[in-house]
């Protein structure tokens, strides 16, 4: 009996009139948890009843507490006939189960009915008394915190990142049960809502268990999705990143962050086993500090003047030991890279890895407070990382697979009475073709792609599905990357020394751009050049990623949203034929989307994409592809060449035409350069103190071919030289394509847009925040549409949506639309649905970047250190680690590698796989600065690190601005709840995470016309969903939702029957936040002082 749940029903208000005769209502309330139900008295003849009930007590297992929602039903008492239900409230009590989150849920909740929408409000108080459960074999995972946020949450510090967690749960969809034929739509909807609530509760509990098993205490980047597979069932699945988080006490936060965690030294034995086959997590013996509950840091000294409390001798000894290691390793590492030319690791490689890893272990043991414990899949759902975590980025890896859905074989389904939940995993033992296995396959593929890019990890990882009838496309994508081995738990990453050998001496502002793979053995053709920033290592000419722009990255100008849109018609078909047709189309779609992205990127004179998200949606007679990303100009990468138009033959008649197009393109590029203020620093800088000659020299040594001469001249000539940028006009389609390229209108003056967390080039946010959701459905009336026609329609649809946003939000100018998240669907044969959620944020136009730079710097470092405790360590370290043999300088160029695989048909169901295209890379060249003058060099690097912090992320700058209170207006009795899809609110500091909000609603109507048609229906439903989210957050004591997202918005209509139905799933993190005070600035200044102090400390 580990928990007691108590609920009290206080009052109701604005109830609907249930008795036409008296125009009043005799309301009472049923409170249900599990199988126990309590009732309040009837409050006769009132639309604002006061029940003020006793405390209803439920004694339950904590397992149930996690799975079940508290169900509150408001009814109208009727003496003669059955009581009429007014509506329901489901309260997820999960937030009450963490000790540090909310302690009570109390407030007004909208009473929701799936047919009538919100019908009044009810005031409820809920409390939980949790008894300590010491049972080691417990099934519950109370206390594991969940965050939707895809970065280390503010006010926490990660001491250990354990890695990927996933789980899925399946059940039959109540909508498709036989009983649905005889029950009312309301009963069916409620059964569905309740089932999904139960399933997500169970899913979360199971993920929690996995996390506990791994020794973590939190899941960050938690992404839960539903697959409504219709007849074949309902799948709820989730992925996330298990972490051990420490809460920073809010008062001392700025100062505690530089403390080293004393207990996080890893086990020193290097475990070399490559990926484990089983699902068992690699569980290296527990670290005392990491597996336990979060250690409060209040006890540590917090005065700003005191140096960080790690002993001065420790870094000292580490320094020497690590440099020794480096020296001794140098030759071997070089060999290792030579050997790694083979695709798979040979015995030699294993040996080398062992050595390298041991070396790394030693360093890690002494220097790092954060360890990484990756499992079978070294995947991370995080999209932004503490500085120093991400070493190199390889490029986007993605995998898709087309599956035929079978009815989920589920023995317990006969029992419709209780929604016994089945763990798919337990049933799968004798079912080879399961959802789990499908995902396993995809993840394996992703992993192998990452390996091909020379990367050992995938970051910014996400999974999605698109279902049409019995065909399902499973997609996964992420960014192949090399993470700092210092943060890795050994033995878990299945990747060789090729990665580890590169201790990265490059400044953080460009380091992540350097290619991680072998120049001589590139996974795809690409053009490499020397990094424009440090001049030491190779970078690709274009970089695509799914993550956010690292805060330390050096960019020029502003970023912008770039979208590629594509429609492909397909024949209607059934079963395997259909699946084959789809899988045959996929690679072409991916290719075209990629080409579009690339061209649009060039057109904007940018060279990198962040936050790339490609969605391919399947309908009965078409496939829709939408790729969104934020383009940016990375100063480390070469300037993009222009786009050249070429006719089919030199003497083409349309020459004039071509030159006019060429002119338009050139003009557009020029206009865009101006618009996005892309004025990259002149190359003049390069000479100064930059060690160009040396690496170039070295590169020649290592290169097998003799393209020895002038790498730099190649850079300069890049414009127009690269084949990829020559668009050949050989038919009308090509002309159309080029025209469509130019259709994308730039945002009106005063607007910028991006789909990432932070807007490259804008950081001085002011307090205006407007989150919105917009849905548009287009009916294609013309049955004889061509691909071209469809493309045009689809492009216009997206463009018009953006135009609408700009217009509606014009009062916020200057403003930026952030985190623009487009979702496309083909709900019916001739319908295209686009759903967008984004946030508009105002910024201060006057304040120049330079002016803001100073303050945010401190803040930036501060924030960074809050998240990770050793940034300083890192900087100091990077100097000593310069001592590396440059092994090989690999070159890669921009790539368009699409490798569709042949379709393969499995026995039970059809499975086909289509490909993956891998994008860019980076390189690791290595300077050979042998550590003779260690001290001086360290100083130098320290200075460098400071300067890099100065170019700190817009996000952090945004956070640091102190602004007026979040409650911009008083007087209202309703708490103002801000919502944003971002992980932060400008000018506001999150002081407490109250728990995850994960809500699922169904709304149905049989009087569509009366409710204002489909638009009226959906408009009020979305408004109701917002209202319910806000009410739940307010009841938890919160005043904002961050990382909000609308995961699902499934809309179905039948206008002839005057009916419509819609399902919406939303999630986010409920938080309490306060406006940043003036203390802030003083704290951060103090912190800088401390940073400096720490630096010298480390260096001596």
């Amino acid at each position: 009996m580990p928990g007691k749940l108590k609920a009290k029903i206080v009052a109701g208000r604005h109830l609907p009139v249930m008795d036409r005769a008296s125009d009043l209502t005799d309301a009472f309330v049923e409170v249900k948890f599990g199988n126990t139900t309590f009732k309040t008295d009837v409050c006769p003849k009132s639309l604002n009843p006061q029940w003020n009930s006793e405390w209803f007590k439920f004694e339950v297992d904590d397992e149930d507490l996690q799975d079940e929602p508290l169900q509150i039903t408001v009814l109208d008492h009727d003496t003669y006939s059955a009581n009429d239900a007014i509506g329901k409230v489901y309260i997820d009590i999960d937030p009450l189960l963490y000790s540090e989150a909310a302690s009570v849920i109390s407030g007004w909740f909208p009473i929701y009915d799936t047919i009538h929408g919100i019908r009044g409000e009810i005031n409820v108080i809920v409390k939980v008394e949790l008894f300590n459960d010491l049972n080691r074999f417990r099934q519950s995972s109370c206390g594991v915190k969940f965050f939707c946020t895809t970065c280390i949450p503010q006010c926490y510090r990660a001491t250990l990142v354990h890695g990927f967690v996933e789980e899925l749960v399946v059940n039959e969809d109540p909508e498709y049960q036989w009983i649905d034929r005889i029950r009312t739509p309301r009963a069916s909807n409620e059964a569905r809502q309740r089932l999904i609530s139960l399933m997500s509760g169970e899913l979360q509990r199971k993920i929690g268990l996995k996390v506990l098993e791994m020794g973590g205490n939190a899941v960050v980047g938690y992404l839960q999705c539903f697959d409504l597979e219709g007849e074949s069932g309902l799948v709820v699945r989730a992925i996330g990143t298990a972490c051990t988080l420490d809460k920073l006490s809010s008062g001392s936060a700025p100062n505690t962050n530089t403390h080293m965690h004393p207990n996080t030294a890893p086990a020193s034995n290097a475990c070399n086993s490559p990926s484990k086959d089983g699902k068992e997590p690699v569980f290296v013996e527990d670290l005392p500090s990491s597996s336990g509950p979060p250690t409060p840091f209040r006890a540590l000294p917090t005065s700003s003047s005191s140096p960080p409390p790690f002993s001065p001798s420790k870094p000292c000894s580490r320094q020497s030991s690590s440099s020794d290691t480096d020296l001794s390793l140098t030759p071997k590492t070089g060999m290792g890279s030579g050997g790694s030319a083979g695709k798979e690791a040979g015995p030699l490689r294993t040996l080398l890895r062992q050595q390298t890893q041991t070396a790394l272990e030693q360093r890690g043991a002494s220097s790092s407070g954060l360890l990484l414990n990756a499992r079978e899949f070294p995947f991370f759902t995080l999209t932004s990382f503490p500085p120093g975590f991400l070493l190199h980025v390889g490029g986007v890896v993605s995998a898709r697979s087309v599956k035929l859905l079978d009815r989920i074989h589920n023995p317990a389904l006969g029992n419709t009475r209780s929604y016994k939940l089945l763990d798919w995993n337990s049933v799968t033992a004798d079912e080879p073709e399961t959802r789990d296995a499908w995902w396993e396959e995809i993840r394996q593929e992703i992993k192998s792609h990452a390996r091909a890019l020379g990367c050992h990890a995938v970051v910014g990882y996400s999974e999605s599905t698109s279902i049409c009838e019995e065909v399902c496309i499973l997609s996964a994508s992420g960014t192949a990357a090399i993470l700092n081995p210092r943060y890795m738990r050994e033995g878990c990453l299945d990747i060789g020394c090729t990665d580890h050998r590169f201790e990265d001496p490059s400044p953080p502002s460009c380091g992540f751009c350097h290619i991680p793979y072998d120049e001589l053995n590139m996974p795809f053709p690409a053009q490499l050049t020397y990094c424009y920033h440090c001049r030491r290592q190779k970078v690709p000419d274009v970089l695509f990623t799914t993550i956010d722009l690292p805060s330390e990255a050096a960019v020029a100008g502003k970023g912008c949203l770039i979208q590629a849109r594509l429609c492909r018609l397909k024949k209607k078909a059934q079963g395997e034929t259909n699946a084959t047709a789809i899988s045959n189309l996929l690679p072409f779609m991916e290719y075209e989307l990629h080409t579009q992205l690339m061209n649009k990127l060039k057109l904007r004179s940018m060279n990198a994409l962040f936050g790339l998200h490609i969605q391919i949606s399947v309908g009965e007679n078409m496939l829709l592809g939408l790729a969104s990303a934020t383009g940016v100009y990375l100063t480390a990468l070469p300037a993009p060449g222009g786009i050249q138009i070429a006719g089919k033959t030199p003497g083409d008649l349309s020459n004039e035409h071509i030159s006019s197009i060429q002119k338009r393109i050139n003009d557009t590029i020029a206009v865009n350069k101006e618009l996005y203020q892309i004025n990259p620093p002149e190359l003049a800088e390069e000479g100064v103190g930059s060690p160009i000659p040396e690496p170039r020299h070295r590169s020649r040594l290592f290169r097998s071919h003799s393209e020895s001469s002038d790498e730099l001249s190649e850079l300069d000539l890049s414009h127009g030289k690269k084949d990829a940028f020559v668009l050949e006009i050989d038919d009308t389609d090509a002309v159309e394509d080029i025209h469509s390229l130019l259709i994308d209108a730039p945002p009106p003056t005063g607007f910028y847009s991006c789909n990432t967390e932070n807007m490259p080039g804008i950081s001085n946010w002011t307090s205006g925040v407007q989150m919105f959701t917009s849905v548009r459905v287009l009916r294609l009336s013309n049955a004889n549409l061509t691909n071209q026609g469809l493309n045009k329609i689809f492009t216009d649809l997206c463009e018009n949506l953006l135009k609408s946003f700009y217009f509606k939000l014009r009062s916020m100018i200057p403003c930026c639309l952030c985190h623009l998240n487009f979702t496309v669907a083909v709900p019916e044969e001739e319908l295209i649905q686009v759903t967008v959620t984004a946030v508009a944020m105002t910024y201060d136009k006057e304040q120049t970047q330079e002016k803001t730079a100073e303050k945010p710097v401190n803040k930036g470092s501060l924030e960074a250190e809050e998240q990770l405790q050793f940034p300083l360590e890192l900087c100091a370290d990077s100097s000593s680690s310069n001592i590396q043999t440059a092994s090989k300088i690999s070159g890669v160029a921009e790539s368009t590698n699409i490798s569709p695989r042949a379709a393969s048909v499995d026995y039970g169901s059809f499975a086909d796989r289509c490909s993956t295209w891998l994008e860019l890379l980076r390189l690791k060249a290595h300077t050979i600065r042998r550590g003779s003058v260690k001290t001086s060099r360290r100083t130098q690097s320290l200075a460098h690190s400071v300067s890099s912090l100065e170019r700190c992320s817009p996000l952090q700058e945004g956070r640091s601005r102190s602004l007026r209170s979040s409650r911009s207006f008083g007087g209202s009795s309703v708490t103002v709840v801000k919502m944003t899809p971002l992980s932060f609110l400008p000018g506001i500091r999150i002081i407490k995470y109250l728990g995850i909000i994960n809500m699922f609603f169904i709304r149905e109507t049989t009087s569509l016309r009366e409710e204002g048609g489909v638009s009226g229906f959906l408009h009020s439903f979305i408004a109701e969903v917002f209202a319910m989210v806000r009410a739940h957050v307010a009841a938890l004591g919160g005043n904002a939702v961050v990382s909000y997202s609308m995961k699902e918005c499934v809309f179905m209509e039948n206008p002839n029957k005057n009916q419509a139905q819609c399902l919406i799933n939303v999630s986010g993190d409920a938080v309490i936040c306060i406006s940043e005070t003036d203390q802030e600035s003083s704290a951060s200044t103090a912190n800088t002082g401390q940073t400096g102090g720490g630096g010298t400390d480390g260096a001596t």
Partner: protein, 359 residues
């Protein structure tokens, strides 16, 4: 190809004041789009007609959803469906309850019944206010009327608190309620020259002086500001002595004439018409116990007093002078014992006539 569904929902509800006004004024979506295009809003954000149409539709839907809440404005503050900043809420309410003077002039004093509602299309045609807007305004009057009808306490304060209106608007509504309740005749041709604001002023005078609530001791009774003080109306009959008693009438006349002599150009006219005018005013007072005559209060004032004066070309100053002395002289009449009632009556009549005496 057609847009089947198009919605935009903000966490903070987005409302454009211009569109709100167009909606209140009863423009259809298409007309509103036209007006907005003419207003040049398209240039602001490189918008196209489609964008404008989509935006207008969104806003119209939002307003329609809000309308239910605006019917009981107190709900707007504690409803959960729309997150609207308080200053916006105030704007929404104030504008929703605002009305056109030309429209209200037509229904002032009429019974707020279904019958009147049926005539709204005529009124719409006559005033040029759209039927939709007429309906909203009429329903507002009716709603306010219905709510305050059952409330105790001061009328203006009740309206202000219950509908969260500004003081000015609350006073106007009080006038409308007061007129509707007492069914004052305002539609006659002879009254056409009077504006709503003239009547609203008079209503204010009547409410604060002639109703039950005006006396003060009856605080917190129902309809205290809506119903005229019956006792007072009864007492008004006593004033008849001023015209029935020949001596008093003569005495009164001589006192007034003495005071006025030489102070105005129209003195001879005043002197000759004194008895007629005095009879007119006193008769109005004496008849106020009849509901029918209460309704005709304003028409009587015009017919019995204002028109004769106007035909004699009195200026407003003359009028003021005359009424002041007329009122004050009664105090000097030693046999006239009803000074209090006289003041209560003449105070209101005087200020009403001042307000109503214009072209």
């Amino acid at each position: 190809m057609s847009v089947e569904l198009d919605v935009f929902v903000g966490n903070t509800t987005i409302m454009d004041e211009e569109v709100y006004q167009l909606w209140l004024d009863g423009y259809t979506v298409n007309d509103a789009v036209k007006v907005r295009m003419e207003g040049g809003v398209m240039d602001e954000c490189e918008a196209s007609k489609d964008v404008l149409l989509s935006d207008t539709m969104d806003q119209y839907r939002t307003f329609q959803m809000c309308e239910r809440l605006l019917h009981s404005p107190a709900k707007l503050a504690n409803q959960l469906l729309f997150q609207i900043p308080p200053h916006r809420q105030i704007m929404l309410i104030e504008r929703y309850y605002a009305f056109d003077d030309t429209f209200v002039r037509e229904v002032l004093g009429k019974k707020l019944s279904k019958g009147t509602k049926k005539d709204l299309d005529d009124i719409s045609a006559k005033t040029g206010v759209t039927l939709k807007s007429c309906r909203r305004q009429f329903d507002n009057f009716k709603r306010v009327f219905k709510v305050v009808e059952e409330l105790k306490g001061p009328l203006v304060e009740n309206i202000r608190q219950h509908f969260l209106l500004s003081d000015k608007l609350a006073r106007d509504y009080a006038a409308i309620v007061f007129f509707a309740n007492n069914r004052f005749e305002t539609g006659k041709r002879k009254l056409q020259y009077l504006s709503f604001q003239d009547f609203a002023f008079c209503a204010g005078q009547l409410i604060s002086n002639w109703t039950v609530g005006a006396v003060g001791e009856y605080n917190m009774v129902e309809d205290m500001d809506v119903d005229l003080d019956k006792e007072f109306l009864q007492e008004l009959k006593e004033l008849k002595i001023l015209i029935t008693d020949k001596d008093l009438l003569d005495q009164h006349k001589s006192l007034v004439c003495t005071a006025l002599r030489g102070k105005t150009k129209v003195f001879p006219e005043m002197e000759t018409s004194f008895k007629n005018l005095s009879r007119g005013l006193i008769n109005i007072a004496a008849k106020l116990t009849n509901t029918k005559d209460v309704r005709d209060f304003f028409i009587d004032l015009v017919e019995k007093f204002i028109e004769p004066c106007r035909s004699d070309r009195w200026t407003a100053a003359d009028m003021k002078l005359y009424l002041t002395h007329y009122t004050n002289s009664a105090h000097i009449l030693d046999t006239f014992k009803h000074q209090v009632v006289w003041d209560r009556y003449m105070g209101v009549v005087k200020s009403c006539i001042f307000k109503m005496y214009h072209d």
